[in-house]
């Protein structure tokens, strides 16, 4: 196959986007959705073909090099894409989920008021897909960065899609700016890499790996740790981890398909994707791995707690996303990159499913998002309810569903990790991480059960008469439900009897993972125990929020202040506002008033005043208009000159 064809992967959606941008307001919804979805589907085809090609033999790699992009000094950016089983499978996921969500959008975005914005919406979605595919396939870190920022831009555009509502636009800006903060870390990390590598500097991923493998000492003296931490920082921005996660809940202001595609399935995994691609850099510093794992576990736990309280359906899912991505980071940190990637894929399936199901509900309820005004929807929207149930079971890790396998793989890897490998010699960090992960899993069961119970079961509390969504909305749900259900086959664990999971064998080596050892019964026991515990939690949740349950009140009664704290999202936004935004703004205002207006802008008047003072003094003292004075100056001058003559 002609390797240049790889460029059609980002190229097709880009072309779609350009067509749609060009068509402007004239484009109808049908046309826009058609173009966008068509481009995505074509891309999916190419992606699948590419995946097949990369699987044709071990080590098969398709490289599409368009030559240098720009170069100066040691910086040499190349426009080069490469496909191997890792990137190709990711591309397939992106294109696939993307196609499904675009198809869903065609039905979802049917508000007549949105009619003029149709082209904009689908163009941005396509542009997003193009950026994401570029990010996935880029073989050069600067090219990756193009995709990385591209998805950020699209996210900004799409979160603020309904821009007439100022809050939406603000949410979009917040997402962009917080992402930029993370991006700063990435730029610095790349700069550091280039600087440290000196004459052998390269940002091409395989070359970088080769250079570092040949001489790990290039990143000695703590440089590896700094690079790793900067990369982690960058990843926390894109993947909504502590400390930069706050944008994601707000990002739910965007249309639901956007949330599904960008803020659940794809873009938010970009941070993890970066860490996966640069696993060899992280591996140089145990401390970084420990930090990644710790950030992941903490985020998983914290977001799980926060997910218990919102009344907004999508916000619960958003915190859920953050929590699940935390598990992913945990996996990467403990050296289970393959497991993390596995969870990335399954999460993409079930979280997209959950979001689309939620979208279906919102569509039916005319964008009523408050779960207190829902209930009993399973009977009125059976397909949607069933799809949501599949997603629910997958995310809580019901045995057999995709989430069960992937989550288990991550958690078990955490338990099995060596403290020294995490830079925490003598400290039982792995156990703590595992415990946190398990707790997060249980919290998942709790908050997801709350959603299921309050939205789909019980009694309908709203005042509209919702009915099942149309086939355009339901069909993608069905496909995604199937994937969420069966996604586990991608990497079945050894205790089930397979020799080695597909991912572990084909992708694992690319991620630096050895084919995992057979843990056998032990792993199975842990997995099933967790599943049982989750079931227990679900039962508890039934008592809290089930028919007649007084869940919220009960929790509040139990831990009033903590509950209030968590319900207020932990006041993290306020905290950031207080420690960063407001001081910075105060500083800016102070600079504007104290330094600029009172200082710099007075320089010129000050100099003028000085000159004026000198001139006035001259007029008052030297030249006050008194003739004998004048003669005196002349006589004095003459005296000095004569003295000069006489002393020589």
């Amino acid at each position: 196959m002609d390797s240049t064809l790889l460029w059609t992967l980002p190229g097709l959606p880009l072309a779609g986007a350009l067509i749609l941008f060009a068509s402007g307001r004239r484009a109808s919804r049908r046309f826009a959705a058609g173009v966008a979805t068509g481009a995505a589907l074509l891309a999916l085809g190419v992606a699948a073909w590419t995946l097949a090609a990369t699987l044709s033999g071990p080590g098969a790699r398709i490289v599409a090099d368009l030559g240098p992009w720009f170069a100066a000094g040691t910086v040499g950016a190349r426009a080069v894409l490469a496909a191997d089983p890792l990137t190709a499978s990711m591309a397939v996921m992106v294109a696939g989920v993307g196609s499904l969500i675009l198809a869903f959008s065609a039905g979802y975005m049917d508000d007549p008021e949105d009619r003029p914005g149709m082209a904009r919406f689908f163009a941005a979605m396509d542009l997003f897909l193009a950026s994401m595919l570029l990010l996935v396939l880029a073989d050069d870190l600067l090219l990756l960065f193009v995709g990385w920022e591209g998805v950020g831009v699209c996210s900004w555009l799409l979160i603020g899609y309904w821009f007439r509502e100022p809050a939406n636009a603000a949410a979009g800006r917040k997402a962009f700016v917080v992402n930029r903060i993370g991006d700063a870390g990435l730029v610095l990390a790349l700069a550091l890499l280039l600087g440290a590598l000196g004459p052998r500097a390269t940002l091409r991923i395989p070359d970088l790996q080769a250079v570092l493998a040949a001489d790990p000492g290039l990143l000695g003296g703590g440089a590896a740790t700094v690079v790793g931490l900067l990369l982690l920082f960058a990843a926390t921005g894109k993947s909504a981890q502590i400390p930069l996660y706050t944008w994601l809940p707000d990002a739910m202001a965007g249309p639901t398909p956007v949330s599904a595609l960008i803020h659940a399935a794809t873009m938010v995994t970009a941070g993890a994707w970066l860490l996966l691609r640069l696993h060899f850099v992280l591996a140089l510093s145990p401390a970084v791995l420990g930090a990644v794992a710790t950030v992941g576990a903490a985020t998983a736990l914290w977001a799980g707690l926060l997910a218990l309280f919102p009344h907004d359906l999508k916000r619960v899912l958003a915190y859920s996303t953050i929590s699940q991505l935390g598990l992913l980071f945990l996996g990467i940190g403990v050296g289970a990159a393959t497991a993390a990637y596995f969870h990335l894929l399954t999460h993409a399936f079930f979280k997209a499913l959950l979001f689309l199901a939620a979208g279906s509900v919102l569509h039916a309820l005319h964008h009523e998002q408050d779960i207190r005004r829902m209930g009993g929807l399973a009977r009125r929207m059976p397909w949607t309810g069933a799809a949501f149930l599949v997603g629910f079971l997958a995310i809580v890790g019901f045995p057999g569903f995709s989430g069960f396998f992937s989550k288990d793989a991550v958690l078990f890897a955490a338990l099995a990790a060596e403290p020294t490998a995490l830079g925490a010699a003598g400290f039982p960090l792995p156990v703590l991480l595992w415990a946190a992960g398990c707790l997060a899993a249980l919290l998942t069961a709790l908050y997801m059960s709350r959603l299921l119970l309050l939205v789909f079961l019980g009694r309908y509390r709203g005042d509209r008469e919702p009915g099942e969504s149309g086939p355009v909305l339901v069909a993608p749900l069905v496909v995604l439900a199937a994937l969420a259900l069966a996604g586990g086959v991608l990497d079945l664990p050894s205790w089930i009897g397979v020799e080695a999971g597909w991912l572990s064998s084909r992708v694992g080596p690319l991620l630096g993972d050895a084919v995992p050892a057979h843990h056998g019964a032990m792993e199975a026991a842990f997995a099933l125990a967790l599943a049982l515990a989750s079931l227990a939690v679900m039962a508890g949740a039934w008592r809290l929020w089930g028919t007649g349950g007084r869940g919220a009140a009960a929790i509040k009664a139990l831990l009033p202040s903590t509950a209030a704290f968590l319900a207020a999202r932990g006041r993290v936004d306020e905290l950031y506002d207080a420690i960063a935004v407001r001081p910075a703004r105060a500083l800016a205002s102070a600079l504007a008033v104290r330094v600029e207006d009172a200082g710099v802008q007075r320089l010129a008047p000050g100099a003028a005043a000085l000159l004026r003072a000198a001139g006035t003094w001259n007029g008052r003292v030297l030249q006050r208009g008194h003739l004998p004075d004048y003669a005196l100056w002349i006589a004095l001058g003459a005296g000095v000159l004569v003295l000069l003559a006489a002393v020589g």
């Binding site: 920022e149 591209g150 280039l194 800016a588 010129a604």
Partner: protein, 490 residues
């Protein structure tokens, strides 16, 4: 044919023509002249041989100008000059297209300024350079003083005096360099090549460099020498602001690259930390101030301060990447700042207002405007794929090695940039449109901005060919600095 001379003379001829044609033909004549200049500039690009081993692949002269001083009309173009020349040739038509000030005088004056700017970017004789460097400001100053807003006189006076406060020391230092050369070589000359052949004594160099740097720093509004900028940008007619911000402010960066760094490499190396510190300061200071402005023009003005600070950081770092990045950033800054000021100018022309909070929802009522504004903003915040990115990345990468703190300041500036520029887009384009929302861009208004936008995209994607022409020139400067650094060590 002496194409560079033609390049310089053409706009001046155009200006003369504008002054004499019937009034209604003045604007078309001016536009035609500037477009003809653009054509010549493109021809210059075509003639420029990037593979040439000569420092200046295109050069003309020297033809004596003041023989007594050995001052000559000597022009030459290397990659750095080339991009600035192209920038000039592109921006001036756009500025002229902005229907900012009535009458023929502004158009003629802007053309005159274009002549001088082109001269400044091509002069290889120090005094010739100085003359152009100073002269390019005067027409703009007249436009500002004669056709600006309420505070125009104050702004113009301040601009002039700030400029002179910088350039008079430059003149003194230039003369000193010349004096030294005559003493060392026995014959008067102010040609760059000749001056390079007689390095000034180490005792003088720091002072002379400081004088050069002062002039260029004032021109490029390096904090804390930027006092002229906010008022000038706020008061001048749009066309003048575009020329001022997109072109004149670049002459400072260009001056560093062409004159200050090569002539005094040792001093430049020693002054590196100062430039780094001032540049970083500018990046953050400009960013923070842009963040709290209520006036659209002032936001863009302070953004300019911030982004030019970035260029100064690169100059201070002095590595190959950083210098290339500096040149690139300076050139591209001209494109997006020009676009931003043009867009703000349209709003002003429509409504007479330009507060950040005076508008809203233009994305609905004026989609063309919103699209172009968004594009320019994204380029300004260095989104990769657009033209701003290569410059910024090269700057950060090249600076990190020398001064990590400055690199951090640079990326922080980018973060701030996103904060304040996106705020502008949000306030202006998003939200509910007001009842008196201005109409969308007419095709005539959109075209110049669209051309700039197209260039921002094109240069972002096809950065290579342009950068490849720049790097030989910047590498030469970096090599001189490197040699100076090496010589300083033992």
């Amino acid at each position: 044919m002496p194409i560079l001379t033609v390049l310089i003379v053409l706009p001046a001829l155009g200006a003369a023509l504008v002054a004499i044609v019937p009034r209604r033909l003045a604007r078309p004549t001016a536009l035609a002249a500037s477009l003809a200049t653009l054509g010549v500039a493109v021809a210059v690009w075509a003639r420029f041989d990037p593979a040439s081993a000569e420092p200046f692949p295109l050069h003309e002269g020297p033809w004596p100008w003041i023989p007594d001083l050995g001052v000559a009309w000597a022009l030459g173009l290397d990659g750095v000059g080339l991009v600035f020349v192209l920038l000039t040739a592109v921006v001036v038509p756009a500025a002229l297209a902005a229907r900012s000030a009535p009458g023929r005088a502004p158009a003629a004056l802007l053309l005159l300024s274009e002549s001088a700017v082109l001269g400044c970017f091509t002069a290889l004789d120090l005094f010739l350079f100085y003359a152009f460097f100073e002269a390019m400001l005067l027409p703009v100053l007249v436009v500002l003083a004669g056709f600006g807003g309420a505070g125009r006189i104050r702004a113009a006076v301040r601009l002039l005096l700030y400029t002179l406060a910088g350039s008079l020391p430059l003149l003194a230092a230039a003369v000193a360099t010349w004096v030294h050369h005559r003493a060392a070589a026995g014959a008067p000359s102010a040609l760059l090549a000749d001056l390079l052949s007689t390095p000034v004594p180490a005792a003088w160099a720091p002072w002379l460099f400081a004088a050069f740097a002062l002039a260029f720093a004032v021109k490029s509004a390096v904090v804390p020498l930027h006092g002229w900028l906010p008022d000038a940008y706020a008061e001048a007619p749009v066309g003048a602001v575009v020329v001022l911000s997109a072109l004149l402010a670049k002459a400072g960066i260009y001056g560093f690259l062409r004159w200050a760094l090569p002539l005094f490499p040792e001093a430049a190396v020693r002054a590196g930390p100062v430039l780094l510190a001032l540049g970083s300061l500018g990046v953050l200071y400009g960013g923070l101030l842009a963040w709290v402005q209520r006036d659209l023009r002032r936001v863009v003005a302070w953004a300019s301060v911030s982004h030019l600070g970035l260029c100064v950081v690169g100059l201070g770092a002095g590595t190959r990447e950083a210098l290339a990045g500096s040149a690139w950033q300076a050139a591209v800054h001209g494109l997006y700042t020009g676009a931003l000021f043009l867009l703000v100018g349209v709003l002003e022309a429509r409504t007479g207002r330009r507060g950040v909070d005076d508008f809203g929802g233009l994305a609905a009522t004026a989609p063309r405007f919103a699209f172009l504004l968004g594009l320019a903003v994204l380029a300004a915040i260095a989104v990769p794929g657009l033209a701003g990115f290569p410059g910024e990345f090269l700057l950060v990468a090249g600076t990190w090695r020398v001064a990590p703190a400055a690199a951090v300041a640079a990326v922080l500036g980018a973060v701030l940039g996103a904060a304040y520029l996106l705020r502008v887009v949000e306030r202006v384009c998003f939200g509910r449109p007001g009842a008196d929302a201005p109409a969308d861009l007419a095709p005539g208004e959109a075209l110049p901005v669209a051309v700039l936008g197209l260039l921002l995209v094109g240069l972002g994607v096809f950065a290579g060919p342009f950068l490849d022409r720049v790097t030989p020139a910047t590498d030469r400067v970096a090599a001189a600095l490197e040699a100076a650094r090496a010589g300083e060590g033992p």
